[in-house]
Amino acid sequence: MASLTVTDEQVRAIKAKVIQPAWVRVMHWVNAFAMILMILSGWQIYNASPLFGFTFPRDYTLGGWLGGGLLWHFAAMWLLMLNGLAYLVTGFATGRFAKKLFPITPSGVLHDVRAALTFKLGHDDLTVYNYVQRLLYAGIIAVGVLIVLTGLGMWKPVQFYYLVMLFGDYPTARYVHFFCMAAICAFLVIHVLLALLVPKSLRAMIIGR
């Protein structure tokens, strides 16, 4: 077979091998970029009036001062929200969430956690997420929704009063927003470590297969 011709069968075979469709890859990296901007500008905002007895090192904050941090935060939020919304709509519409993230069963999670801790968790078929992955991915999507809702509530506590009400009041929304950020950072660390441990999964998120 000449290397420059492709039969229909080959086309199908290759297509089936695509692990991450293009829309997932694009939105994934846009989200990663937007999240980094939101975290670093959020730390700048936090430093202006810390909730706890610590501040974030200046070098890891964006914007130079509170005003700059706020400008970044309220600019990158559009990228984060539009991209996130597109992702949720496409994820539900294409059936990707139903197919790849669910079901999540307690016994499945327990089994895979045990397998992971004993290094028996295989990654032979990257098109199927194991239960630990499903739980983490579904969980972080929920946290993403939560941080946007608390953020919008704090941004417009009068116009979006019902959003603030959902979390109690303004100060509690602020704490929830902060803890969501902490959860996203924890996820980021684990997520990046695991992706580096299984490099072909990282490759799939970049070139698709």
Binding site: V18, R25, W29, A48, L66, F74, P157, V158
Partner: protein, 260 residues
């Protein structure tokens, strides 16, 4: 068709990888993290060449303007800021400014007059005694600072919209611009719709006592639908105007609408 380019139609694989790697922030690029500095990755996002910090700043300023428009659009003139019972009041209510209390304007109430300028029928200045005679209302609302902290306080005074009506202000004008007694001339523009909001108040009392120096004696503008820096203290004049005259913090980069 070569197999290589087939998987991602029309895209060179190597270039794609290179681009994707570029979207991942490089933590060794200190300038990216340190602030309004050059952002290589932003080039990817906007398609324009962000080479120096000033173009990043320009972009951010444009988005902030866009955010002004968005906030004006979602602003509901009938939506009231939540009110609280007296027991919820934060004690002590924080003093907050970019200077110490000792350096706060010390206004002499008998000499002070509120100047009224711009698009109004009656430009007469008002003494404190005259203002105190206007009907007053009280509100217990949450003051939210741009820094993120908030505190609940009790303010009493005349609804600004009643005063604007009284002086024959052109309420089709865009702004009411406040000037304050601060040494370096604090000022702040308030969009007319927020100025006409039922809870926007010319405040003369805090917790039923004459407004103390710390909270803006003799007059503060309380706008519970705005962040704290848009609630000017030590006010000496108001101007009804169509011109955007900027403000102390607004000019430094805080979002101008900064509505709640």
């Amino acid at each position: 068709m070569a197999k290589r380019s087939f998987l991602i139609p029309g895209v060179d694989k190597r270039l794609l990888i290179k681009d994707a790697i570029k979207t991942m922030p490089d933590f060794t690029r200190r300038r990216f993290i340190a602030g309004g500095a050059s952002l290589g990755a932003l080039t990817l996002l906007t398609g324009c060449d962000v080479v120096d910090s000033s173009s990043a700043d320009t972009l951010l300023a444009q988005v902030s303007k866009f955010n002004d428009a968005v906030q004006a659009f979602i602003f509901n003139p009938d939506a009231l800021a939540p009110t609280f019972p007296e027991s919820a009041i934060t004690k002590p209510f924080p003093f907050n400014a970019y200077y110490d209390l000792d350096d706060a304007p010390d206004v002499n109430g008998t000499d002070w007059k509120l100047e009224v300028r711009g698009l109004v029928d009656n430009k007469k200045s008002w003494t404190l005694d005259e203002l105190y005679k206007l009907p007053q209302v009280s509100q217990i609302t949450r003051h939210i600072c741009v820094e993120g902290w908030s505190a609940i306080g009790s303010w009493t005074g005349t609804p600004l919209r009643d005063f604007l009506k009284l002086i024959g202000a052109d309420t089709r004008a865009k702004y009411v611009w406040f000037q304050c007694a601060d040494k370096d001339g604090y000022n702040s523009p308030l969009d007319m719709r927020s100025a006409l909001h039922p809870q926007t108040q010319m405040t003369f009392k805090y917790a039923n006592e004459i407004l103390p120096r710390a909270y803006g004696f003799p007059m503060k503008i309380r706008v519970p639908t705005k962040l704290g820096f848009k609630n000017p203290k030590y006010v000496v004049s108001m101007e009804v105007t169509n011109e955007y005259k900027g403000g102390y913090w607004e000019d430094q980069g805080y979002n101008s609408f900064s509505g709640s």
